[in-house]
């Protein structure tokens, strides 16, 4: 029986290069992802209410949403102390994950707030 002594493949997740994270604490990783998800969802809802109050229509609202998500990414990176490798295994997780997940909530609360403030 051949024995593989390749240590890079025996971890839960591995990446070669300068950041040799052979294995990581998956439970903490999941908890961190949940925190990002909650933050983004809440801010999508708040952003929808703000866009409705300010009377954005059409493309301006979606641009506002993109700006808001970019600000959220910046805030999350700042919360992680600018050293995301301590809390996540790749940049994409904190910068891009959940970017479009809050879009539906944003549009819902945007139309809701716009109707209440500007139409009724």
């Amino acid at each position: 029986m051949a024995v593989h002594s390749d240590s890079a493949s025996s971890g839960k997740k591995s990446s070669n290069g300068l950041n040799e994270l052979l294995t990581f604490n998956a439970e903490n990783m999941q908890s961190n992802m949940k925190i990002i998800y909650y933050s983004r969802t809440f801010l999508s809802i708040i952003g929808g209410v703000v866009a409705g109050i300010l009377g954005f229509t059409g493309l301006k609202g979606f641009v506002f949403y993109l700006l808001l998500m970019a600000l959220t990414s910046l805030g999350l990176v700042a919360k992680a102390g600018f050293s995301t490798h301590t809390y996540f295994d790749s940049w994409n997780r904190v910068l891009l994950d959940g970017f479009l997940g809050g879009l539906m909530s944003f549009v819902l609360f945007w139309t809701f707030a716009y109707d209440i403030v500007h139409i009724f």
Partner: protein, 106 residues
């Protein structure tokens, strides 16, 4: 975390107040029959303030980030359980490279 909730609640209250004053502003525009070109300046300031407070609350209320390195300070298991019969030490982790700078701390 209680502070985060309070800050978020205050941010929401400010947003509701801004919405109410925008509704009143629109009522005024209907009376004077002008077009709605943009919210008044105080509404914009209020909304920005409410957004900043809610953003701060959204980043602090869900909880702290936990480190995912297995050898970081907060992930240490420093106490041996009383029942040593079930602790084994010849598991698969022995294929990992040896780190010679791990210190023993109380």
């Amino acid at each position: 975390m209680g502070l985060g909730f309070v800050v978020g609640f205050i941010g929401l209250l400010i947003l509701f107040h801004a919405a109410y004053s925008t509704i009143q502003y629109r009522g005024l525009l209907k009376i004077t029959e002008e077009e709605f070109s943009g919210p008044p300046l105080n509404v914009v300031i209020e909304v920005t303030l409410g957004l900043v407070l809610c953003m701060w609350a959204a980043l602090t209320v869900p909880g702290k980030f936990l480190s995912i390195h297995p050898d970081s300070e907060e992930n240490r298991i420093v106490s041996l359980p009383a029942n040593l019969d079930f602790m084994i030490f010849n598991h698969r982790y022995k294929v990992f490279p040896v780190e010679l700078d791990v210190k023993l701390k109380h």
